[in-house]
């Protein structure tokens, strides 16, 4: 593996977090814009510190030390067992040190996804606490199972199936983040004024769509770095094959975006900019799982389906299921990620295994995400919410998070509207 190229790709990864931060901020309201960016930086900071101190030990890396037990005549590798506080790992210049470097950014990206669903009502202190739990335990468990030599990566050797494939982190990063967003949206409830007494939804548009669209471009660059680095580190993709990963990432974003533009143009007569931006990210997310395994044509099809699916799911969640998710994180990250994992079995190049075995492995991974990770994430969030309530109080609901929590607005020279959606 080319150490310098891998390091260069890892260094691009924070741009994905920057892009997502701009998207979340722009899709929220102006009166909570500064709070949104502060929350992102708080989450990134807490995630990095907690992950390096604790989480990295449990995440481990392929071939590293691990906790395991014997069941059904098989060894189940379920948690990493490296030294805490990243002791000794950083000076080695080995696979372990590069893995840690990538994972620090990856856990940050996963940790900021739920902020999108909690925009305009999730307080800073509970955000930090939830992020600490997420990056210290929740993320490391699944990351170890898939990328750290855990049982999902050993399905082939231990059970005669195919290896669970998640090359770019559709499951490890996007779906775990998306499920955390779903949990946060359920616990927080909708923004005041979002639904009438008859449960009719009110449109609360994002305040800066230009930032949202610029965030999409930044996210693409970050995604290219993330997918290239994880392909090399966890799946042994050769340096000369990285060009394919980059092309697939660009095609995924483009196809997801155009599919959303066309779908919204047909449905609403004009393209919807915020849903189209969601389509761009949904394309990237769905393409992550198989970025190094599929042809460009398959990448385009997968992302286009994700772009279309996202526009419908955002509406379903908002109008029918009454889930207030201002940034569309649940549809974009969780649903598109699941579709991406399925697409690996549909279109991936399975040289050593049959397509049916790959299907089974992918479904086992998805079942683990829904059946274990979602209850774990939701249970943890419910517990934390009992000790430190997630939601801002009624006054804060009316004032906006900038004034309530930071004492000053993001745009002090602009006229900030009071909450015109809520009768006082």
């Amino acid at each position: 593996m080319n150490f310098a190229l891998c390091l260069l790709c890892i260094l691009l990864t924070p741009l994905a977090a920057a892009g997502l931060a701009l998207i979340h901020q722009g899709l929220g309201r102006s009166r909570s814009a500064a709070h949104s960016m502060m929350a992102t930086l708080c989450a990134l900071s807490v995630a990095a510190i907690v992950f390096v101190l604790v989480g990295a030990s449990w995440t481990g890396f392929p071939g590293g030390a691990a906790h395991s037990f014997q069941a059904g005549g098989t060894q189940w590798n379920w948690l990493g067992n490296e030294a805490f506080f990243a002791q000794g790992i950083l000076r080695e210049g080995s696979l372990g040190s590069l893995t840690l470097c990538l994972q620090v950014f990856a856990v940050g990206i996963a940790a900021i996804i739920p902020l999108s669903a909690g925009t305009d009502r999730w307080r800073l202190a509970p955000i930090c606490l939830a992020t600490a739990l997420f990056s210290g335990f929740v993320y490391p468990v699944f990351a170890h199972w898939v990328w750290g030599g855990g049982w999902l990566s050993e399905l082939s050797a231990n059970f005669g199936l195919a290896r669970f494939q998640d090359v770019g982190g559709a499951g490890v990063i996007q779906i775990t983040g998306g499920l955390a967003a779903l949990s946060a949206a359920w616990i927080l409830g909708p923004r005041r004024g979002k639904y009438s007494d008859e449960s009719m939804a009110t449109a609360i548009p994002g305040h800066n769509i230009v930032l949202v669209l610029f965030g999409c471009i930044l996210a693409l660059v970050g995604w290219i770095g993330l997918e290239s680095a994880s392909s090399m580190l966890f799946y042994g993709v050769a340096t000369e094959q990285i060009v394919g990963v980059i092309i697939n990432a660009v095609l995924s974003a483009s196809a997801g975006f155009l599919a959303a533009v066309i779908t919204t143009r047909i449905r609403y007569r004009k393209p919807d900019a915020s849903l189209s931006a969601n389509g761009w990210i949904a394309g990237l997310v769905s393409g992550s799982a198989a970025c190094a395994l599929v042809s460009p044509l398959a990448a385009i099809f997968t992302a286009a389906m994700a772009g279309i699916l996202t526009t419908y799911l955002v509406e379903l969640l908002e109008l029918r299921l009454l889930v207030d998710d201002p940034g569309g994180a649940i549809s974009v990250h969780a649903a598109s990620g699941i579709w991406g994992l399925i697409s690996v079995a549909l279109f991936g190049n399975h040289s050593a295994t049959s397509s049916s075995a790959q299907f089974l492995s992918q479904w086992i991974g998805i079942a683990t995400l829904l059946g274990f990770m979602l209850p774990l994430i939701h249970g943890g969030n419910l517990l934390l919410n009992r000790f430190l309530p997630y939601r801002v109080d009624r006054d804060g609901d009316w004032q906006g998070m900038d004034i309530r929590e930071l004492g000053a607005g993001a745009y002090p020279e602009f006229v900030i509207h009071a909450d015109e959606f809520v009768p006082r």
Partner: protein, 59 residues
């Protein structure tokens, strides 16, 4: 309803794990994994309905 939904999610996952440990034939494993995922989906629906019903209640 929400608690039952969460329990169904976990139950579905245990069925998937049981299929891995106890069965060898691909068709049997596939059937159990499909059944496990179906139970998880049922759990997800119940959990979602529980929260949707909570939102519909006047505050």
């Amino acid at each position: 309803m929400k608690l039952i939904g969460c329990l169904l999610l976990l139950s579905g996952w245990f069925i998937v794990l049981a299929a891995l440990v106890m069965l060898v034939a691909v068709t049997q494993r596939t059937a159990f994994v499909v059944a496990g995922v179906a139970i998880e989906l049922l759990g997800l629906v119940l959990l979602t309905r529980g929260y949707t019903a909570m939102q519909r209640r006047p505050q």
